[in-house]
């Protein structure tokens, strides 16, 4: 058997990989067709199913210790399309399948269909697009073909952009339009890179490409264009301008998904690109550039967050900063510390997903209960709604990187790796970012925990508070991830083994 063939020997249970994409896609079509309350029912009913798929995929990978592979239609790459799942894909799938139902449960209050079953605009759109985001993210985590991943990126854009302006206020329309423009720009540049890679190697399959890639002009240009496009979609500084208005103005449940998960989709593809497609490229300079941009994002995003007057905008700017941390893994990608750096980056993606979702849901509850989300008017609110602010605070713990939290584990790993690599500067930036995060969270929490209890328009419902709290606890619990978890993350990471041993 040739080497090419062995990469596509369908692994046992590989057909499972198609389901987390096809099932929510079918849910989208059915929800749109049946409309009304069915959309909500279908969306909520499919979420546990989706969790089941994610856990099944993860356990298959865990048991075999190998990535899962599936070839669609029996047409092996390069002609056809393969799906692949490694450790990173699996944890992202599981994370998505946990945050989605949390957002869904929270959103039931905001996006209910009236009892007479008359279809309303916002609920139908929300529940349909929520499933579309799930399908798109699954495809991004599992896709093994660069053009197929382009379709996934577009799916994600089309699913996410309308959620931003669901309430139809003019400023949300402007935010959605800007988001759409950045996303379209990003997808086009990504596609241009895909065209160049196909022109150079005649395949778009990630594994086949990685075996052939050489450092030549077409590849460098393609890498640059694709990375730039994906950075625009990930909102890395200085391409972050679209994110704060979009994430701050969307309905809270949508913000949680957009900030927690959707930006991680394009980040995931950057990791795929540099770790799986282009490991043959010398990555010191591009890694340093990415990390420099990430550092700038940490400092600028945190500083801007300090100056915000609205809670949701503050949280959105903190996303800009936290995205920066994700990129500190790139200059540490080769060397004996690479496994640590990779684990740290992934841990940051996971813990930020949970923490940020928890914080946006809490902020949504605060805004609904107080009737506003001005930070100046939060005095004493923490005593009126303690559970909500507990969720907000625990999420903040992770952002600051204080133990015990997933954010601490992430930053600890990244810091250790950068010190081992002798690249101290990233460690300094991380410390500064943590202090700044402490500053902007103090601005929110300190007044909220003192002063007189304000009159609430309506107290938050306990079940919704618990959803936010559960997400925040998940972010905390990540701190106790056992070593086997980190071993799992390394499954399928190319060249990682070679660098380690």
């Amino acid at each position: 058997m040739t080497e090419g063939a062995s990469a596509f020997a369908a692994t046992a249970g590989g057909s499972l990989l198609a389901l987390p994409i096809l099932v929510p896609a079918a849910g989208v079509l059915l929800s749109f067709l049946l409309g009304g309350r069915q959309a909500e029912r279908i969306a909520l009913a499919l979420m546990p199913v989706q969790f089941g798929f994610a856990v099944a995929i993860a356990s298959l990978i865990w048991r075999s210790g190998q990535p899962l592979v599936y070839v669609l239609g029996g047409y092996a790459p390069p002609l056809g399309i393969a799906l692949r799942a490694d450790g990173f894909s699996a944890v992202m799938l599981v994370t998505t399948s946990l945050i989605m139902p949390a957002a869904g449960l929270y959103a039931r209050t905001n996006f209910a269909t009236p009892n007479d079953g008359t279809e309303r605009r916002a609920p139908l759109v929300f529940w349909t697009l929520l499933q579309a985001i799930q399908a798109a993210l699954s495809l991004i985590f599992l896709g093994g073909d660069l053009f197929n991943l382009y379709v996934a990126l577009e799916l994600l854009t089309f699913a996410a952009a309308p959620l931003v302006c669901l309430d139809g206020r003019p400023e949300t329309l402007a935010a959605a339009l800007r988001y759409l423009m950045f996303a379209l720009f990003g997808a086009l540049f990504y596609l241009l890179g895909v065209a160049l890679l196909y022109g150079a190697y005649g395949t778009l399959d990630i594994v086949l490409l990685s075996r052939q890639i050489r450092a030549e002009p077409a590849v460098w240009l393609a890498a640059g264009l694709m990375t730039a496009g994906l950075l625009a979609k990930t909102a890395l500084f200085p391409l972050h301008l679209w994110l704060p208005p979009a994430h701050a103005n969307a309905p809270a449940a949508a913000s949680a998904v957009l900030s927690g998960l959707v930006v991680k989709g394009s980040f995931f593809l950057i990791v795929r690109l540099w770790f799986n497609v282009l490991p043959a490229l010398p990555n010191a300079v591009p890694g340093a550039i990415l990390a420099a941009l990430g550092s700038a994002a940490i400092l600028a995003g945190s500083a801007l967050a300090l100056r915000q007057e609205r809670l949701k905008l503050l949280i959105a700017y903190s996303t800009v900063a936290q995205i920066g941390y994700l990129f500190l893994m790139f200059p540490l990608a080769s060397g004996p510390w690479s496994a640590e750096a990779f684990s740290g980056g992934v841990m940051q993606a996971l813990s930020h997903a949970f923490a940020k979702a928890a914080m946006f849901l809490s902020a949504g509850l605060i805004a609904e209960s107080l009737g506003h989300d001005r930070i100046a008017g939060l005095g004493g609110a923490g005593r009126a709604m303690p559970v909500t602010f507990l969720a907000l605070g625990l999420g903040g713990l992770s952002l600051m990187g204080l133990p015990p939290s997933g954010g601490f584990a992430a930053k600890w790993l990244l810091m250790k790796a950068s010190i081992e690599a002798g690249q101290w500067v990233w460690a300094v930036v991380m410390l500064a970012g943590g202090l700044l995060a402490g500053g902007y969270l103090y601005r929110v929490l300190a007044p909220a925990l003192s002063g007189n209890r304000p009159r609430l328009k309506s107290p938050p419902r306990r079940s919704r508070e618990n959803v936010a709290l559960a997400l925040a606890l998940a972010a905390v619990l990540l701190a106790f991830a056992p070593p086997t978890f980190f071993a799992f993350l390394q499954i399928g990471r190319p060249a990682a083994g070679a660098a380690l041993r």
Binding site: N110, T157, A161, L177, F185, L188, N249, A252
Partner: protein
């Protein structure tokens, strides 16, 4: 120079032109046009890749051609969504603009959704 290479150069020029339009023109509709220019430039690059892959009795590689067809349809849907957003924004505000501060106003009632 073959016609394929020529088309590729045109594609490169179109990407540059469109990028300039996207950056320099503040009106959303003009930005949408510029996006479509970039898009067609990208498709032309696929086109020369396909043409240079002429083999097996075919005058062009069918795989990139199929990708372009998919891309054209997606680009159209994206244009339609962007146009609809622009028109709605114009109806609401009487102007179509993407000013950076347009999104930072606090909502009057503070409520999130609904």
């Amino acid at each position: 120079m073959s016609s394929a290479t020529l088309a590729g150069l045109v594609g490169a020029a179109l990407v540059g032109l469109g990028l300039y339009g996207v950056i320099a023109d503040p009106q959303p509709l003009r930005k949408i046009l510029a996006f479509n220019l970039i898009g067609s430039g990208v498709f032309l690059v696929f086109g020369i890749v396909a043409r240079k892959g002429a083999a097996a009795g075919l005058s062009a590689d069918p795989v990139p051609q199929a990708m372009v067809i998919t891309g054209i349809v997606v680009a159209f849907a994206a244009s339609a969504l962007a146009v609809a957003l622009t028109l709605r924004l114009f109806e609401e505000t009487g102007r179509a603009t993407l000013r950076p501060d347009a999104g930072t106003k606090p909502p009057d009632d503070g409520a999130d959704a609904e």
